[in-house]
């Protein structure tokens, strides 16, 4: 199936940030809800490291069930963090498919190496300022991540 056409959006706007006192607000945007989730994951990993330097040579899949898209965003981001920690990896590319309540994601990245930038650890995604919505054909997924 051909993905819906994306409205013109500068690459630097598919991932974005907003203010929170103690932690960091992340934003992912895309033509589909899934793309917005993928870009939210990229926004989160851009806090952890320089994602442009990560080589996406290993793929790990994650899956979960959730009916509520907003809670699904939190579960998705926390699954990725858990998987990264479990495998000692860092990711920079994500693919997500949704079939009804089933979400299947691919995480692309590599194990941590010394010359990857160490940014700030993200402990988890939260329900604070959590929203998933579509406006004029652009999906936006946002929440505060706890660092």
């Amino acid at each position: 199936m051909t993905p819906p056409s994306i409205h013109p959006m500068s690459p630097d706007k598919v991932i974005d940030y907003f203010e929170h006192d103690a932690d960091v607000g992340i934003v992912g945007r895309g033509a589909t809800l899934e793309q917005a989730f993928e870009n939210a994951a990229r926004a989160m990993f851009a806090i952890i490291t320089n994602i442009d330097a990560v080589v996406p040579k290993t793929v790990i899949t994650v899956e979960f069930e959730e009916t509520d898209p907003e809670l699904a965003l939190v579960i998705w981001l926390n699954h990725i963090l858990g998987t990264a920690r479990q495998h000692g990896m860092v990711f920079n590319h994500f693919q997500l498919r949704r079939t009804h309540n089933h979400w299947l994601g691919e995480l692309h990245g590599e194990p941590w190496r010394d010359n990857l930038e160490r940014g700030t650890e993200v402990k988890g995604a939260t329900l604070t300022m959590l929203s998933v919505q579509s406006t004029k054909g652009i999906w936006e997924a946002r929440c505060v991540v706890d660092v």
Partner: protein, 475 residues
Amino acid sequence: MDISQLQALQPYLWTLPKTAHEERAEVLLYGSQPLLKSMDEKVLEQITNVATLPGIVGAAMAMPDAHWGYGFPIGGVAAFDAEQNGVISAGGVGFDISCGIRCLRSNLNLADAAPLLQQLADRLFETIPAGVGVEGTLQFTPQQLDQVLAYGAHWAVKQGYGDTADLEFIEENGCVAGAQPYNVSTLAKQRQQGEMGTLGSGNHYLEVQVVEHIYDQATAQAFGLHQGQLLVSIHCGSRGLGHQIGTEYLMMFVKAANQLGIHLPERELACAPIQSPAGQQYIGAMQAATNCALANRQILTHLARETFGEIYPHAVLETLFDVSHNTCKKETHEFHGQTRTLYVHRKGATRAFGPGHPQLPARYQTTGQPIIIGGSMGTGSYILAGMENNPAFASCSHGAGRAISRNQALKKWQGKELIKELKQQGILIRTRSMRGAAEEAPGAYKDVDIVATDTEKAGLARRVAFLKPKVCIKG
């Protein structure tokens, strides 16, 4: 914060008067007028929401270091009665369950130790696993991890990490009862497999500090403190495991809210009646995470001792106290002349038992418990003592609290420059993350002196000593 809507009850105590049809408990905020003015609006909104939760006893309270949190403000305190349909709130405990500070007093003075401080900093940076993607040296099977979750610091001491003498000076003697490791998900346990004995990043640290000023000589003496002495403070919590537990139960509570008949002014306030199966399940998991945090700080204590021993062969590091500041504890309190068993939530707030409390070790029976208010890596920290008649269910501030966001800090400071400046001030920073250093710039935090002073003036705890950082290992 716009304080025009607040009413001053005392110079350091404020309340938000109720409107005609508002059904909620009292809201109390501790601190001076300037400190309250510097707080963000969200603090008042969040603590007012807390006051609407079922079964709350007395008031919903914000400590002098309060700032915007998750459901509860950070610096939020609230007590609930299980017998009156009171609730347990995952947001009221916080995601980093049992995050806290272990403070160790040494037999070293700065004057003697100074020539080797740089060497100590370098070696601590090698031996204390810190920062994103950095694993500990310990790897656990799921069965071993269950032992950690069940027995906390006792497990760690039994494995040779530290000394039985440490246990007396940890809250609940190093192991909370009622932990249920089987209430912790597989994903939460997987996240923790390589994280035991790690510091993490963000505002977590291991600091070597010097006692720079003493406010209360007699209490300092009872705590074993003197001017010029070196101390070590370790700030961390239950790492990925605690966060995963917090998130999973929060979402469970959100979904069950309607069924439980709980109106939520904000989703992150999701909670369950203490006596409900969901509430009891969370309490079992939370206690397991608390034990995880206590074990984690015990392992880090051991690593710090080994490293000090390499650099200063005659060094002795004794546990002054280990106190958590993201907790919910079942405690007995006198309230309006009655003895009540309450579940006291302290989200970014420290327990502050006063003199004579039966849960304190003999050494602190006459002084009250040691309390640690952690500041930034460039300013300093305070040791305080618990007071009789603390009005906030024996609670007080836990840290300086952020003044500006991490994004704003990144725009304002450069990590390398900052580390250089701090070195010129005699503070050695070791970190793998220049971004993290900039985010944690001393200027990004509130003035810890004001927080500690207001804490004392509000009658929450009294100042004993001020500690200046000399070495800081950051994640």
